[in-house]
Symmetry: C2
Subunit: 398 residues, 2 copies
């Protein structure tokens, strides 16, 4: 092996990547990734892309698309303008750009516990150490822990599904303001809202801190377009544009053109409403199935938005769920173990994340019945012999 | 300003980015960027994209596209397979991924002098120090300078236009093998070949070193698709895939689908031949114009491929050409100053890069006449008072 940068030792394989491989196997029921329903995707037929969209373009992205995004962001209460919108090659890229600017070896980063695992992957690559907080407990965000960055998904959090109350949003903004951190708000799920709830961007409640706010078209349009966007406070925005330019010059213009056409078409609002109605039905059906199959071994909150149920295995709160994934996949079902979502996971957390937007009703029933059998057996074994709970060995390279 | 990672102080604004803004002004004649002719772009009409291409996909990219790429690479003599091809969001991304894996603060990187300025931008961001080499002088690539990475564009080099001879290719491979560096071959221009010449990939001549080879669809299809690809030696490839996954999960699938359709269509070979014939004519016309307007003040080689003429101002070899860019743009012409292409540029280099693929014949004539006037005046002033040569002040934020 050649001489590598020391950060490479922290470049762990992503469980998401493994999942994306697994779910493409025919017949697999996947509750694992945050995959939208294919039925929700717009039909891309008879497309024409103007010649000028095939040339190199500005790093910031398509002007008309940025105007449309800025108008939406302003409506949400965010202080921005088209000049301060950067189109991203998916919101994963925003995490990479922010990490490049703010994280170096040993920098303290405050994250929810649990949080989005691919954000942890990037922060760790750049050398983050973590202090963890939750919507109920933000004491760790303080001048002593001095985080360079506070990363949060306040609305339909991944993986917990939690939506911060207005009080929790204000508390988080105040905690950030008190410790000179940059606030990084990740908001990919906000359009997928099933019940009335507060979705005020936390960055709009800040009094003095610098901030970055990002969202994605992966959930409301289609992930295959690989488009997201960010805006940021005035001092940070130009640096993010430079980092973007160094990363890939600019995002692909063909999909920006397509996204702008879809979002500015007369049917865009109705399309989103239909998608949300469909996902609400899927969520409710999934909840009914969960009560039937997991009612005795787990607890969960009905998510008011987003794509996930987060299950706490009340009967075995220290069970490591990771080793069960391989057995589940062998039986044709994929789920997401809870452990990779914790910055400080050293032991089993007795939790798992289940996506409800991708599987059909019949697949959901079959998959949850299979999973419940598997988890019931594992829990029984765990209670008998906690140190040898797992019938299969861990295998990150699944 | 919040607490930023120390690397941010090295995040310089890219001259390329400024250029991409300038060239979009109406009426501007641009010799600055490596912009393909819009006439070369494929017509994207009546496109249909299958529903499944709108879902998340594998980090490595579209399987059929990777098979096609692997077949082309194997034909070029590169040891690879579809499993070892990674589709990139443009080849700029490959530079970011390789830098993440191999460059940390103070790492030595060997680069040609001059070399691609946006590669220098990324390497510097990650903390590179440089040792420079040229096709004629590779002594600096040795065990003592111990480069972690040797970056080269052997075929139609950017900016010089040089194509390494077979002997130079063998020498470079031997120098790399002798010092345990990773070899990074950037090969975006190889399809744009106007005269018979050796284009053997240097990575195929290595005996023992690890390597990364990348190319792009920006020059042969269209930059707006933002698609490139890499392959690498076996030990490095899985790390590059992980870094890609952390950077943007995967490249946009809509454009991968389009690129595969274009490249596998019966007319693909004829389309490329037509493009090359057109560019050869443009090059020859540009050369004629250069002789007319720059014959007295500059020297250049006729490039056997690629997109650029590199002009040495023989009358003023230490003239800093950067301050002239603003004056040129004010007169409606953009060119690329030579200085940003040098890792060790502290003084004027008396050189500039001119792209010949983008401007029409009439624009090229008008632009070169304007530029020659400007340069002649600047050279006269420089010879009179070398320390006050520049009639306009430097302005990186052009």
């Amino acid at each position: 092996m050649p001489q590598l940068a020391s950060r490479v030792k922290r470049l762990s394989p992503s469980p998401i990547r493994e999942i994306l491989e697994v779910i493409s196997q025919p017949g697999m029921v996947s509750f694992a990734g945050g995959l939208p329903s294919p039925a929700s995707f717009p039909a891309l037929n008879n497309l024409s892309v103007p010649n000028e969209e095939l040339q190199y373009g500005a790093s910031e992205g398509n002007v008309a698309l940025r105007e449309l995004i800025a108008a939406q962001l302003t409506e949400r209460g965010i202080d921005t303008s088209p000049d301060r919108v950067l189109v991203l090659s998916g919101s994963q890229q925003g995490i990479d750009l922010v990490a490049k600017l703010l994280i170096e070896e040993g920098a303290s980063v405050a994250v929810e516990s649990p949080t989005y695992l691919a954000a942890l992957q990037v922060f760790s690559l750049f050398g983050a150490s973590y202090c963890c907080f939750s919507p109920d407990s933000m004491q760790s965000i303080n001048a002593q822990s001095s985080p360079a960055l506070v990363y949060s998904i306040p609305t339909f959090q991944n993986p917990s599904g939690h939506c911060y109350s207005h009080e929790q949003r204000c508390s988080l903004a105040a905690a950030v303001d008190a410790c000179d951190a940059v606030f990084f708000e990740d908001d990919p799920y906000r359009d997928l809202v099933y019940e009335a709830c507060d979705r005020t961007p936390v960055c709009s409640l800040l009094q003095r801190s610098d901030w970055v706010y990002q969202s994605s078209f992966s959930k409301s349009l289609a992930p295959g377009l690989r488009l997201g966007y960010l805006t940021a406070s005035e001092s940070l925005f130009p640096l993010l544009v430079r980092a973007k330019q160094a990363a890939d010059l600019h995002s692909n213009r063909v999909c920006q053109h397509i996204a702008h056409q879809l979002l500015s078409s007369p049917g865009a609002g109705a399309r989103l409403k239909q998608l949300v109605d469909d996902y609400r039905r899927r969520r409710d059906h999934f909840d009914t199935l969960l009560q039937r199959y997991f009612g005795d071994i787990a607890q969960w909150q009905l998510p008011v938005g987003g794509l996930f149920f987060w299950l706490d295995l009340t009967a075995a709160p220290t069970l490591d769920t990771q080793p069960l994934l391989r057995a589940a996949v062998q039986q044709g079902v994929a789920f997401m173990p809870g452990e990779p979502f914790f910055a400080d996971a050293s032991a089993g957390c007795g939790a798992l994340r289940l996506n409800f937007s991708h599987a059909s009703a019949a697949e959901a029933e079959r998959g949850l019945a299979t999973l419940a059998d598997l988890f019931s057996s594992a829990i029984a074994a765990h209670l008998t012999a906690p140190n040898h709970a797992c019938v299969v060995t861990p295998d990150v390279a699944l």
